[in-house]
């Protein structure tokens, strides 16, 4: 440190490095506090966590989570298994719990940050303080903070991607070249079988290898492709084709351009200091040095963020690009502070080669880099605004949730479609509400259909269906919901729990017919709707089936005894199925029966309401 920060400039640089480090370390403390608080919450904090836990349970019992969605329990996983496999020993020891999945995901972000720091130190000129700064800068990102400690596998994949790239970065210059290349390829394989998105990092690695030596690129890409393909084939055979359906076909979702552009703008607005430095180093390598694996990876990973526009995707898709950017920016800052830039003569450098730059100008460039990192530390501010620690701090700083925000959280990222505004602390009320829902499940004699797996898992009941998976498959014509609808229409579920009503439209329609909303329980910012079987469904079902047959003969049905207002019951039922009442131009003759005509497309039916009877006359 003494030699690196010498003289007056050196002292100022020391101050600026210190300031930048203080900011990112403060972000790190908030991250640790939030993560450990979240580990204690026993329910889904964000949609999808419970399904990851359920996948782990399947694998821990030696069962495949890649199943046929059209048969009971209408459930399948849409992610590869590595993350879940790693968690299996925890299931054996502790049973189904959220904390270990969150802990492993959190630790994986720390390993990623440590690896980024290591790469900056090794490849950037051995500056410990800049290595630490960039590792913490990665963790300080709003994108890492709010998703990092969730029971999700995305950042577990990013960890393997970063480990692979850093292993391969100088593999060609090392004596144990083959071992390093093989290790890097192995890590890429693991990343790919943690989450499919690692394919882009594989593409970047082979592109870089191709630039360095096409032969090696071809040999290793064929080797990795063969290994990945063989595993894929085996899994597909074992699961009778369900692996392909659930892992590949189910992930072809609608692309929403506004979601991608919104997230891209947000990514640049939050991380522009790091992206600027990373971009400068990439341009430098392109024209004045050899392209490093980091630069190629940064470009490919940034282009691949276009996938963030898919329905169901989000800001986590930018994490790989950010990791690459942090390494490049760290190397750029280290070289600037060390003043080790070299510009070989070419048509671009020639006009500047004879110019002399004062030591002060060179030093101030280093200062400018550090100022950019301080700006970054201030730009990515976020913190919970509740709890004994953060409530007074946020009040003192004047931080409060954005208007209309559902959680006690200040987040400078703002909101755009695809960005989950989470990162708040849960409350005792949230937990109590969760247990109340669990008690309702336990009280049911029949199975329960829940949009979140966590409640069923806590009640020790079977998890039935994964709504977003069913929706994705349905949208791709790969899911026929008839069997699930048959269970719903026979009122085979004692309780249905909605959070966002993500089921395919025919499934939702069947639920709206056969069940009625009974209670709304707010928990963690969402209103959980509890629906119970409708007592009049049997009668309405007979009527619906009769009307759908386009009948020629009349039908007489008795209105269920519990219905008080027969008229409004009839109108709401017909309205639900798309029947419109014909406006009567003349007053009906006064009889003891009220007669109304209804139309639906080319169908017409007359209904007479006589006391507690309905008579349908085509």
């Amino acid at each position: 440190m003494q030699t690196m920060f010498s003289g007056q400039w050196g002292r100022w640089q020391q101050v600026f490095v210190g300031l930048a480090l203080i900011l990112v370390v403060l972000h790190f403390f908030i991250y640790v506090y939030y993560s450990f608080s979240l580990m204690q919450f026993p329910f889904d904090y964000d949609q999808g966590e419970g399904f990851e836990l359920n996948d782990t349970l399947y694998l821990s019992e030696g069962k495949s989570p890649y199943r046929n969605n059209e048969t009971w329990p209408f459930y399948a996983s849409n992610y590869p298994p590595i993350y879940h496999v790693v968690l299996i020993p925890f299931v054996w020891i502790f049973g189904p719990e959220y904390w270990y999945g969150r802990l492993v995901a959190f630790l994986s972000t720390l390993v990623t940050a440590g690896t980024i720091g290591f790469a900056v130190y090794r490849d950037g000129g051995r500056r410990r303080e800049i290595a630490a700064l960039m590792g913490f800068a990665f963790l300080a990102s709003n994108y890492i903070y709010h998703i990092g400690p969730l029971f999700r596998q995305h950042y577990f994949m990013v960890m393997f991607e970063v480990l692979a790239v850093v292993t391969l970065a100088n593999a060609l210059e090392r004596p144990q070249q083959r071992q390093r290349l093989r290790l890097g390829m192995g890590l890429l394989l693991i990343a790919g079988y943690t989450k499919q998105l690692a394919a882009y990092t594989c593409a970047a690695v082979f592109l870089w290898l191709f630039i360095r030596n096409p032969r090696r690129s071809i040999v290793y890409s064929l080797g990795l492709g063969a290994a990945a393909g063989l595993i894929f084939l085996i899994l597909n055979i074992i699961t009778e084709g369900q692996w392909y359906t659930n892992i590949v076909a189910a992930n072809v979702n609608q692309f929403i351009m506004s979601q991608f552009t919104g997230l891209l703008k947000q990514y640049v607005r939050l991380h522009w200091p790091i992206l600027l430095l990373a971009g400068l180093l990439t341009v430098y390598e392109l024209y004045f040095a050899r392209l490093s694996i980091y630069a190629v990876w940064f470009v490919v990973a940034t282009i691949s963020t276009i996938g963030a526009g898919k329905w169901g995707a989000g800001d986590s898709y930018f994490a790989t690009s950010l990791a690459a950017a942090c390494i490049l920016a760290g190397i750029f800052i280290s070289r600037t502070l060390n003043q080790t830039w070299v510009f070989p003569e070419n048509y671009l450098s020639r006009p500047f080669l004879n110019m002399t730059f004062s030591p002060g100008l060179k030093q101030s460039l280093g200062m400018l880099c550090l100022i950019l990192m301080i700006i970054y530390g201030v730009t990515v501010v976020k913190m919970p605004t509740s709890g004994a620690v953060f409530e007074p701090i946020s009040q003192a700083l004047g931080f409060e949730p954005a208007p209309g925000h559902r959680y006690p959280l200040y987040d400078a990222a703002g909101w755009t479609p695809g960005y989950a505004t989470i990162g708040h602390l849960t409350s005792q009320e949230d937990e109590d509400s969760g247990w109340k829902i669990v008690d309702r499940i336990r009280a049911s004699d029949l199975p329960v259909l829940s949009e979140e797996a966590g409640f069923s898992l806590q009640a020790e009941r079977e998890v039935i269906s994964n709504p977003t998976q069913l929706l994705n498959l349905y949208e791709n014509d790969l899911f026929d919901p008839k069997n699930l609808i048959a269970v719903i229409e026979s009122q085979g579920f004692g309780l249905i729990i909605f959070r966002a009503q993500f089921y395919p439209e025919p499934v939702l329609s069947a639920i709206y017919d056969a069940y009625i909303p009974q209670e709304v329980i707010p928990m963690n910012g969402f209103n959980y709707e509890l629906w119970i079987p409708a007592s009049d469904w049997e009668t309405r079902r007979d009527i619906r089936d009769y009307l759908n047959k386009n009948p020629a003969e009349a039908l007489e049905v008795a209105i269920p005894a519990e219905i008080e207002d027969h008229r409004s019951w009839m109108f709401s039922m017909m309205d639900r199925w798309g029947w419109t009442p014909v406006i009567a131009l003349e007053a009906a003759p006064s009889t003891e029966c009220e007669s109304r005509e209804f139309i639906r497309l080319a169908q017409r039916i007359e209904i007479r309401l006589c006391g507690d009877k309905l008579i349908f006359q085509p």
Partner: protein, 72 residues
């Protein structure tokens, strides 16, 4: 090229970028001309982003050509 010591030069990388960018540019335009893109969406933002990236790749390729045999 398949020699274990062969490495791409800046000029070769530039040529590959020109070919890649050019093919992508023509491909996107042809895709639209042949009516293979969404008939309702027309020449939308996705194609515009693709065109911009392809054009950038082409320009980078051209700018690399004068760098000659320097290893890429």
């Amino acid at each position: 090229m398949l020699n274990s010591h062969f490495t791409l030069t800046k000029r070769q990388l530039g040529l590959l970028a020109i070919i890649g960018g050019g093919v992508a540019l023509v491909g996107i335009l042809l895709f639209d001309e042949l009516g293979l893109s969404d008939p309702q969406g027309g020449f939308g933002p996705s194609q515009k982003i693709g065109m911009a990236l392809a054009a950038l790749m082409l320009l980078v390729g051209i700018s690399l050509l004068p760098l000659g045999d320097t290893p890429a």
